[in-house]
Symmetry: C2
DNA sequence: TTGCAATATTTGTAATTGCAATATATTCGC
DNA sequence: GCGAATATATTGCAATTACAAATATTGCAA
């Protein structure tokens, strides 16, 4: 059997890339007064405002309990607000405030720039191919989890 | 300007893929009695035994202070040992023990299987292309950091 | 050679994280 | 329509994490 070469091991490559991007962009975000998880929430809400907490957790890849506390902090800062009362009284929906939206708008250019840097030297086709492949990997792993734990979703649907 | 679509944003795609893989493989690792960070250390040592702690931190994308404590735990469990005394008395090198090596050998098949699952439906060429692109992204971001903080490496060289 | 900046690791410490338990609301079986 | 199982969110809590400070060693320059 061939030797195990970590430097060509996909989980390794994905992880180190993710950590690199996260720590580097985290520095940028600090100047805006938000943490990386907070930015993820803002970006997710920018995509679809008024999401329920569990959906927001799935979209941001943040554990619901962790997210709940992050939302406390963001609410404290006035970036989001929680609302109850739409039909099902169990669900809480999260909404961007005007301040949150303004902040998101300020961050987006940096986020775009950051992606440009990450994709420096990539053609549009290559970038699209990379993204499509990451989505395929994500779905492959998600499918495995659903198969392993068939009843009631293990985590992040 | 075009709207910001998080679902096609590279950092988002990389992060969610990494988190998915990490949580899923973490479950597998628990059965072997190790955590994900510990596995990363074992895999890094399998690649090159006797690395210094700072190099190990760079390779595993774990902060040195965090790594120092992870090594405490791994040493406690008898998987690795620290050695001092090779020339520079400041540096500590980390070495896999026989037990650590045996554990690594047991985990590797699962790790391989896991990558196969993640890459299900990928041709060999596609998989190679994905890995190569992830490396390019990593280098792009690393280059940005070195440029931002030219003196003495901000983090993980 | 002495002193001082740089390097390598560890330790202090506060914040973050995630699992488990809880509280509340809903739905399904009967 | 009642009660058990399910769903949603929050909270308790111990472990993990990361930044900063401390410690130890080295190398260089005066």
């Amino acid at each position: 059997m061939t030797a195990f070469d970590i430097t060509r091991y996909l989980p390794y490559l994905v992880n180190r890339t993710g950590v690199r991007i996260a720590t580097a962009f985290g520095d940028v975000l600090r100047e805006h007064g938000v943490t990386l998880p907070m930015w993820r929430v803002l970006a997710a809400l920018d995509h679809a405002d008024g999401q329920r907490i569990s959906d927001l957790a799935a979209m941001t890849s943040i554990d619901v309990s962790t997210l709940s506390r992050i939302l406390d902090a963001m609410q404290e800062k006035g970036f989001v607000e929680r609302r109850r009362g739409g039909g099902d009284a169990r669900v809480v929906t999260v909404h961007e405030t005007a301040a949150g939206l303004a902040l998101t708008r300020r961050i987006i250019p940096s986020a775009r720039h950051y992606e440009d840097v990450a994709l420096r030297g990539f053609s549009a086709e290559e970038a699209a191919a990379l993204k499509a492949m990451l989505e395929r990997v994500y779905r492959n792993v998600a499918a495995l989890e659903d198969q392993t734990a068939p009843e009631g979703e293990t985590k992040a649907a």
